[in-house]
């Protein structure tokens, strides 16, 4: 499992520090993600993982540090321009447009591809019609890919949680991303849904070849899928390395379990040797 970091990096984060009143959510975090790489960020609750995503996608602006995406600086740009450059994301707490159908939610992911203006829309003129049809076809491919066909016309708010998570992934894919940020993609899912999601994530990496950063508490999943792992605790980076290296790092175990527990044996919450199956073997 060689890390893809040797290739031109997709994203370079250098010494980023983000403070809120009284809280330092991110404290000097640096990492790079290479092409075709599945990079994971793990850490206990409140460690600053989601905040890192918010910095990357332009929602928060850090006080220090720099972020480059596809070679260009990101900080200070508005989220929608970063999105248009090819950064897509899912949210820890699903952020879908509940009143809209699955198709419309995915179509919204195609904002970057819309090539017609107000007047073409008002008259439903050729450019509008062609653009809509092309986007619809692209969206239908994603519907097939994520096996969402049966939910197509339903308002998203009525769908089960696991399906909503998948729709959100679909919306991100509709953006034709150059980098995909997944914030806890299997949180709250049952085993079957988790396995489906793992399969989709692998397909995205292997078939669509989209580099990903994944935040996840499910250690089994992280250890199975990730090429490299960054561990953060209270905003501070503890270590970066392959899943195996990270699991062996005593600081990591300490961060998760506190000083008292020497060996990490508490189910899948902490990285443990149980989750070292190779990525390809996952169902």
């Amino acid at each position: 499992m060689t890390a893809g970091s040797a290739a031109a990096p997709v994203v370079e984060v250098a010494d980023v520090t983000l403070r809120f009143k009284g809280v330092t959510a991110i404290n000097g975090v640096s990492f790079t993600v290479g092409e075709h790489e599945l990079f994971a960020i793990i850490g206990p609750n409140g460690a600053g993982k989601t905040s890192i995503f918010n910095v990357l996608s332009g929602v928060y602006r850090p006080q220090e540090g720099s972020v480059r995406f596809l070679g260009e600086p990101v900080l200070g740009r508005r989220p929608h321009t970063i999105a248009a450059r090819g950064m897509a994301r899912t949210f820890q707490n699903i952020e879908l447009f509940e009143n809209l159908t699955v198709i419309d939610n995915l179509m919204l992911g195609r904002a970057h591809a819309v090539r017609y203006g107000m007047f073409a829309a008002a008259g439903w003129l050729g450019p509008a019609r062609r653009s809509e049809l092309a986007d619809r076809a692209a969206v239908e491919d994603i519907v097939d890919f994520l096996e969402l066909a049966q939910y197509r016309g339903f308002p998203v708010g009525l769908l089960p949680y696991g399906v909503q998570k998948r729709v959100e992934l679909g919306r991100a894919l509709a953006m034709e991303p150059k980098l995909l940020l997944l914030d806890e993609p299997v949180a709250g899912m049952n085993l079957e849904e988790t396995e489906d999601m793992a399969r989709f994530i692998l397909d995205i990496r292997d078939e669509l070849e989209i580099p990903m950063i994944m935040v996840e508490h499910d250690m089994g999943l992280v250890m199975d899928l990730a090429d490299r792992v960054l561990v953060v605790d209270f905003g501070v980076p503890i270590t970066t390395g392959t899943p195996v290296e990270v699991q062996r790092n005593p600081d990591v175990v300490k961060a998760y379990l506190g000083e008292d527990h020497a060996t990490g044996g508490r189910r899948s919450k902490a990285p443990s040797a149980a989750g070292t199956a190779a990525a390809g073997e996952h169902p």
Binding site: A83, L96, F97, L108, G109, A121, A149, M175
Partner: protein, 396 residues
């Protein structure tokens, strides 16, 4: 259930165009399966079922034939309904679809009304301005464009304020507008004096005057019906386009919208521009039906009436906007009949309680009732009725 099983099953999969390349190129539906779509274009069409096509067709025929049976005063009321519908669609686009509460709608109606009458006004008149261009498309477009430009000026407020704060700032807009309309005599003629409305001249003919074969009210009704169709069609097109989707995205979750690449500021700007354009055109047309409007008419009450149309008709639907507008347009006509049945209500504005007070009360009451019992408005009621008959005789 068995009797309707196949049809209902078809309806369920009806919105499911076949996947794969062949499905995308073929345009015809398989014989005997009218509810099955084989292309995305069919699925995306405005009238995507036969029921909708037939229903709308019948409604249109009826609407076009009405002038041959109805009295002129009723026709004028219906023409007003058409125009208010245009205004309501405009408000629904910004408030219902894009979620930006605006109490300033009356201001944009006023801007449209006076722009049109300036463009069409008599240049010889010494009291008020006039450019003397009475050709309807010109003054209508001018009314829409001037209102839209002012909408563009107001839009940045929506990027900084939301919800209640935006509502209050747009409320300020109505007050400023009302003041300007009252005081700016060369534009509006001033309170109590007013000015002549734009003459609706088309094909060299003033449609508001009686012609050889038709009365002015008949012609105005047809004109306004055609206008409503045009504006409703454009409204539906906007709603089903990427623009309409981005409106809904901004309304439902603006952070997520930004992160999926929607430029939230631009979307809000567009929503205000489109909405104000609609309001401007509606104001101009409304003025041309009434012939005269006092400058104090474009106040808060008018804005509230439009909010009532949207809420009663149905938020974020075009057909709902039309239902709501007609409801509000026809309501006074019904309440004026009330004193005959409720003797304690007076038809004179000087007595209390009178029908006008009752009307105002009714707006408030209806808004509250609809919000509580049928938030989807008349449109929601219609959907329920339709689904009931679709499933009849089964009650589920």
């Amino acid at each position: 259930m068995t009797a309707t099983e196949p049809r209902r099953a078809e309806a369920a999969t009806g919105s499911t165009p076949g996947t794969g390349p062949t499905a995308r190129s073929g345009g015809r539906r398989p014989r005997g399966r009218p509810a099955m779509y084989t292309t995305y274009a069919q699925d995306m069409a405005l009238l995507n079922t036969r029921g909708k096509k037939v229903g709308l067709g019948a409604l249109l025929v009826l609407a076009v034939l009405l002038p041959f049976v109805l009295q002129d005063d009723l026709l004028r009321l219906l023409a007003t309904g058409c125009v208010l519908s245009i205004g309501a669609i405009g408000l629904n686009l910004v408030t219902g679809y894009a979620g930006q509460v605006s109490l300033g709608h009356a201001f944009f109606l006023g801007v449209g009304a006076y722009t049109a009458s300036v463009v069409a006004g008599d240049p010889e008149d010494e009291e008020v301005w006039g450019l003397g261009i009475t050709f309807l498309p010109v003054w209508l477009l001018a009314a829409g464009v001037v209102a839209a430009v002012l909408g563009l000026v107001v839009a940045p407020l929506a990027s900084r304020l939301r919800g209640l704060y935006l509502a209050i700032v747009t409320l300020g807009l109505v007050f400023i507008g009302e003041h300007v309309f009252r005081e700016w005599d060369s534009l509006t003629g001033g309170v109590g004096v007013g000015r002549q409305a734009a003459e609706p001249v088309l094909f060299g003919m003033d449609l508001s005057r009686r012609s050889e074969s038709f009365s002015g009210d008949q012609q105005m009704y047809w004109l306004m019906l055609a206008m409503l169709l045009l504006f409703a069609l454009v409204g539906r097109n906007i709603a089903r386009s990427a623009m309409g989707r981005s409106f809904a995205a901004v309304r439902d979750r603006d952070i997520a919208a930004e992160i999926t690449g929607v430029d939230v500021r631009r979307v809000k700007r567009r929503a205000f521009v489109v909405s104000s354009f609609y309001a401007g055109c509606a104001g101009a047309l409304w003025y041309s039906i009434l012939g005269f409007i006092d400058p104090s008419s474009f106040g808060l009450l008018l804005s509230v009436q439009f909010i009532a149309m949207v809420l009663i008709g149905g938020v974020a639907t075009i057909s709902g906007s039309i239902m709501g507008a007609f409801f509000i347009a026809l309501l006074p006509r019904l309440t004026r009949e009330l004193p005959a049945y409720l003797p304690f209500l007076s038809s004179s504005a000087t007595d209390t309680p009178n029908v006008f007070q009752f009307e105002t009360l009714l707006y408030g009451l209806l808004i509250v009732l609809f919000l509580i019992f049928e938030p989807r408005g008349l449109y929601g009621v219609w959907i329920r009725v339709r689904n009931y008959w679709k499933a009849w005789p089964f009650s589920y």
